[in-house]
Symmetry: C2
């Protein structure tokens, strides 16, 4: 069956372009917290297909620049937000013959969590991007299957929040436990019991107290400040949280 004698000979004559391939892209759902809402960054498409619709930051792999898929996702995130080292993880891939009008296409979906910063700082030179509250996405004219990709990432985010400390990544540090609880509640879309929350987080030793209490613009007792401890990203709780609500 093989017409070639050796691997080297085979590779010599191999030409991918002779074949039809599915399109391959990488898309990133970038989540942040702003004005007490979970928001995602969307781009208004300037090119066909789906020109004028809202889309996820993403696109094709730059085969000369990107060493791997994660690098592509990291590049897309950097181009649109300037953020260099966010929490970034793969959600999964979608591929079928109808999601892109150009033909069979596969997208590898990532999600990123970043602390919010004023639009100007993030979007210098980027005038086609803006934050949208996740619950508003359903009302937008979305490109491709990006609305359902966002849902998929949002579901993953909700699930993982129930047994990790993922929400630390949408806060600027240091933060208070109350702020962290709010972040958990928004990402999980449920109310949490204050005492249970603090007990769980504190016992897990995933935070370290930073400086002393103090700092705080408002009234009321000043809160202690915390930052994630080393290795906290990898902490897995044995039990999920917030089942009752």
């Amino acid at each position: 069956m093989s017409e070639w004698q050796s691997e080297a000979e085979y590779l010599e004559q191999y030409d991918a372009r002779r074949y039809d391939w599915p399109l391959v892209s990488v898309d990133v759902v970038i989540f942040t917290l702003y004005e007490s809402r979970l928001q995602v960054l969307l781009i208004k498409r300037g090119e066909f297909p789906h020109r004028g619709r809202w889309a996820l930051p993403g696109g094709f792999i730059a085969m000369d620049e990107d060493g791997d898929l994660q690098a592509t996702a990291r590049r897309k995130l950097r181009e649109k937000t300037g953020v260099e080292a966010p929490l970034l993880e793969q959600v999964g891939s979608q591929g079928n013959d109808c999601r892109d009008p150009r033909g069979w296409s596969v997208t590898v979906l990532y999600m990123a969590l970043i602390a919010w910063a004023p639009t100007a700082e993030f979007l210098e030179g980027v005038d086609d991007a803006r934050w949208w509250p996740v619950e508003k996405v359903a009302d937008l004219e979305m490109a491709f299957d990006h609305a359902s990709l966002i849902e998929e990432a949002r579901e993953r985010l909700k699930n993982k929040t129930a047994y990790t400390v993922l929400p630390v990544h949408v806060l600027r540090r240091p933060f208070t436990l109350t702020q962290l609880q709010h972040a958990f509640e928004l990402l999980m879309d449920t109310q949490l019991e204050k005492k249970s929350f603090r007990r769980r987080i504190l016992n897990a030793e995933v935070l370290e107290e930073t400086g002393e209490a103090l700092l705080e613009g408002g009234r009321g007792r000043p809160a202690a400040l915390y930052a994630p401890a080393r290795g906290s990203e990898r902490h897995l709780f044995a039990r999920v949280f917030g089942e009752s609500a």
Copy 2:
């Protein structure tokens, strides 16, 4: 920037083949239980690249046959095992510029769980495939990065077994609770407490007793027989299992 007036016009002239694309493949780690060991199905490659090495069942998307990625995975599984409706779920994607000597390549990885059946029944017409115990894979000459893909799937399998009833899928039904416990122990690679195991599974109401007890070749008290209840695939335990061992 756009030279075209409409989406239709753009699509008219679009030709994917003008661009360089990464290779895209789908690979499937097929797990089963046989002779009290967790095994994976591997194929001896007959073609370049990596001719003669062991590889996962998988390959390119048939853009004319496969409606989506899952369909490709299902087709690969069917071709090698004859199994039509297994547990099949996506693990994730790997993509970089070095995993395939032909160039930048992306693979979408699936895992499948099936009940074992004698080789003849499965492999009629397939003489290049055989089951290997997972722990032996490290000693084989593996193609591409398939050894690490197997590890990734195996890790996922272990993790999910701790909060689902995934192992029901590697057993022929009906099965006894003791058999199910053995399946859990092999997939999790840990010992489980009998009473805890039974209490957990039975309280979750994910099984239904099938017929009566009886049936059993051996000595000792005959065991009750069970089959998965409807919807059991979706059952998620709030707490992981088998942390102590």
